[in-house]
Symmetry: D2
Subunit: 327 residues, 4 copies
Amino acid sequence: MIIQFKENSPLIQQVAAKLHAIPAHVEVVGTHLAAIGVKEYTPTPEEAAVIESITTNDKSFVLGSLEFQPEPTIIKLPHTTIGAGHFVMMAGPCSVESEDHVRRMAKVAKQGGATVLRGGAFKPRTVPYSFQGLEEDGLRFLREAADAEGMDVITEVMDVPHVEMVGKYTDIFQIGARNMQNFSLLKAVGKTKIAVGLKRGMSATIDDLLNAAEYIRANGNPNVFLIERGIRTFDNKYTRNTFDLAAIPVLKKLTHYPIIADPSHAVGVTDLVTPMAVAAAAAGCDGEIVEIHDDPAHAFSDGPQALTPDLYLDMTKKVNAVRKALQ
Amino acid sequence: MIIQFKENSPLIQQVAAKLHAIPAHVEVVGTHLAAIGVKEYTPTPEEAAVIESITTNDKSFVLGSLEFQPEPTIIKLPHTTIGAGHFVMMAGPCSVESEDHVRRMAKVAKQGGATVLRGGAFKPRTVPYSFQGLEEDGLRFLREAADAEGMDVITEVMDVPHVEMVGKYTDIFQIGARNMQNFSLLKAVGKTKIAVGLKRGMSATIDDLLNAAEYIRANGNPNVFLIERGIRTFDNKYTRNTFDLAAIPVLKKLTHYPIIADPSHAVGVTDLVTPMAVAAAAAGCDGEIVEIHDDPAHAFSDGPQALTPDLYLDMTKKVNAVRKALQ
Amino acid sequence: MIIQFKENSPLIQQVAAKLHAIPAHVEVVGTHLAAIGVKEYTPTPEEAAVIESITTNDKSFVLGSLEFQPEPTIIKLPHTTIGAGHFVMMAGPCSVESEDHVRRMAKVAKQGGATVLRGGAFKPRTVPYSFQGLEEDGLRFLREAADAEGMDVITEVMDVPHVEMVGKYTDIFQIGARNMQNFSLLKAVGKTKIAVGLKRGMSATIDDLLNAAEYIRANGNPNVFLIERGIRTFDNKYTRNTFDLAAIPVLKKLTHYPIIADPSHAVGVTDLVTPMAVAAAAAGCDGEIVEIHDDPAHAFSDGPQALTPDLYLDMTKKVNAVRKALQ
Amino acid sequence: MIIQFKENSPLIQQVAAKLHAIPAHVEVVGTHLAAIGVKEYTPTPEEAAVIESITTNDKSFVLGSLEFQPEPTIIKLPHTTIGAGHFVMMAGPCSVESEDHVRRMAKVAKQGGATVLRGGAFKPRTVPYSFQGLEEDGLRFLREAADAEGMDVITEVMDVPHVEMVGKYTDIFQIGARNMQNFSLLKAVGKTKIAVGLKRGMSATIDDLLNAAEYIRANGNPNVFLIERGIRTFDNKYTRNTFDLAAIPVLKKLTHYPIIADPSHAVGVTDLVTPMAVAAAAAGCDGEIVEIHDDPAHAFSDGPQALTPDLYLDMTKKVNAVRKALQ
């Protein structure tokens, strides 16, 4: 149930307190109050006077819906603002490979306009014998590289025991596609105030993604954005996944969370990344996250999809040109 | 096997004749000769002198490959050129509904820059009790409406016995997604010289699509273009299909056929058509085909995905802006 | 709308005639009358006295529904009965390869209990350069082989112009997966009285399949059965398709048409055919259709999924054992 | 690389020690030695004398392959043996609902021949506001109910911090489909000796599943079995997932791990569970896990797929009949 009030009023908190007692999950944002698990509420005449509408949300997610929060979520980081038209570029190597390498990649990322540096220190690898990341050393190298360039950091956190440690180094927790429904992890990052970039799972529907985001938001963390990174379909000979670009305008109709496109993982092949990055910008995403590497053939992971510095700079120019053309 | 000659030479036909005798399927385009079903060929010294290379194509399709024909296919119609950078807009109602209606829609289509008028006279409907089209009357209305505006016509042909009749009215045969592997129909249109727009089937891989096109090309008709219109995946709550936009740059790496995007069928929801049309242009398609209707609520078919005239004109402006930004 | 009468009565035809005049698509089977396209009907008092119920079917298919025809469809061929518990085995080579070969395969098929001989004379091949079938010669060889063993024939018809010719040789038209929504072909076989085995398309939902069957039934041919042959999913490394065995009990809840399992195409790998044939019998199918070959390595098509005579006989024993155990 | 020795010999450990020093991941089972990450090894003449073969495994998983361990994995629990033909039935409620309820359900489960009691105490729910389980109380109720009937316990562990606590109560850790690639969790249960039932993820390929199992096995725990529970495809109107029964014989060709079928989650609809349970037995699974409830309409979770006691007992009879028929 969502109650929309006509104006800011002390009665909002009064209603909230009464609903809390039912008990229900109650949240207030501005003049909107969501009471999840409550089917109906009869306001007092005094309350009724300041209530615009009482509606029942028929969606499985509530806090992420535009009915509850019509204004876009805006996430403010030291060097970056995400959401509400503040287009953001995130770039960096797939894995943090060394102190020196991530520093050089950070310079390239910055040059192309990125304000967020990406890099994996804990790597979720399909095969247990693949490189699993530099772990805490990698986090430190990543943080220092970002600081040197005046950038923010996004990096993956893979499990509950690592949330605190990873949180010391990063500005944004990335939740990987394989962990999109690791509900314990979603609750754990939901209890922090650190921004969370939630990747869509390989076989997650749009509703699944919004329900997963709801786990984070319902645990108290409003700093959530979504990442479309391709879904698994029958056709995977020429691309790693199928990039579901229509998810971008679909999500814009359903939620206030910013939506970031990840063309690198969506296609998995370097020469397809730029056309897909440009297409994602045209489709209306709030930013992009891409993998870059100066020597893809020797990358520790995901070399076949990395943009070289030249390709990356070319891509950012084209993305900017398209965004400008559509303004 | 593909033999690339250094130059145009009468020896090309000599080699072709010898290979024909094996017997093999032999085709020559410019200085490229494809001999399908032939594993090796030992040229005479005289022949060897004008041969650049002999390669074995490891793909299931040959005539559609860039190895056989590196130059893009260009299709010339009275009012339209398709391929090689000649961006084309095709628009019109889903079904031809009446003489008057298709005339009005043709005017709108033309206004937005379309040079090809679309409209269905034979409709492939999932349910047998749905409207099945105006048949030959519809074709005549469509042809007259196109002629009145100086446009070309694209319309669906659904079976072999209709090829001749539909061919009297149309400039382009559309092969629908459900008929993409109706091999008898592919052979029949392959025996004409009328251009063919081949829609990707709902569960067709990229290779399936190119093999289907090969049926048309191998029967003698080189005027083929491909239409990406969305594939069937697990997520179909908010969109009718999943628009596989990466197929556009993938196909550009594999084939010389032009690639047209059909955002209307790909998403099936009006307010998603424009962002996806713009994204498709950004991804590098050679044109778009969209459905328009002045009264979608009363359309005979597919009203929920039709662009009203205003939305259509807005879409074409955005598509043009993006194309210009990327030149 | 479906009207169920209490008993057989001349009033049924009276109501049918009145509904025909609306106009609607009206069909009567026993005491059930379906009037498709009619929203409501007010019976006369006399009619009302013999009417059990008037219900609106909320499905897209009507004639195929159990609401319209609660009794199972039974198809009687010279040597075979399909439906209502009459389990049928259909076997034979993928392609008719020669007069002699199909005769030998017919003997093997018969030995394992098959009463229907399968074999392709017109082959829908993904690649145009693959073997396309012996055409009318193949049909003749197939017919003669079946007659020699006292068996019925099932063979694929690929397009409208072939319906008459193929119909001279076969007891059952097979509509292939790629043609499941070739609506012109469905209408054409619907206008004959020859039995039709309709294969589920690679990306067809259960409803799509039943709507395709509706095309045949609505054109006057009640002798329809369905074939589950696997669907296309993301996992195709070890099997050609994903065998959707749950479709068998699902279809049993929805329709009166018999359901035949095609494990050969569903998995596409010889050593998986037997376990899947047995599983399909356990799941409740009305019969199976399998491919057999005495020399799979040299089969003209689909060798990798053919059962050798020994494997075929072993499979039929296991299928029979399971069926007996579940009686 | 896999080295197969002719006989048990102290030289096996000698070779292992040398390969460990490379460094590589080295494991020995009987006369088979796997050295993962090692490309070649030149044995001494003395070693060569006892070596049967040295082969390079081309699969991404090694320890789970039949090349490494040709004998089936056998898991021995107090009341149950899993693998190598020891068919096991696991049954119980979806959620542990109360001390009394789980006791009654345990009696029913036992009556149908189950030796393992299932029940969820920590529930991975798509929506955060759904019932999340009785947590440690639920585990205690489940353990006590199993002990009272002389049964083993299987229950889901959802995250790393819970492994120790859940391990105090259970004989088998269940890893849920959504956590199949929660690699931290796989490592954590891999470091225990408690048996692990690993569910296939909704969009996991066969190789993904075997690679996930490899995480557990490579961390030292050989007591692994796999659970097929349906995959996500385009068709989900009449079933929750698509039950990939061919995965059972496919896995039998690839791995020594036992394979358990979960028809309840695969189809998600009560009246489809029995035919699919029977089909799974026919396909050759090593056991089944099903959900039972005496009052499905009021179940805390997954009521629509629960078997009532009567249906459960009928199902087990049919499964046993089919297994006997195929012996």
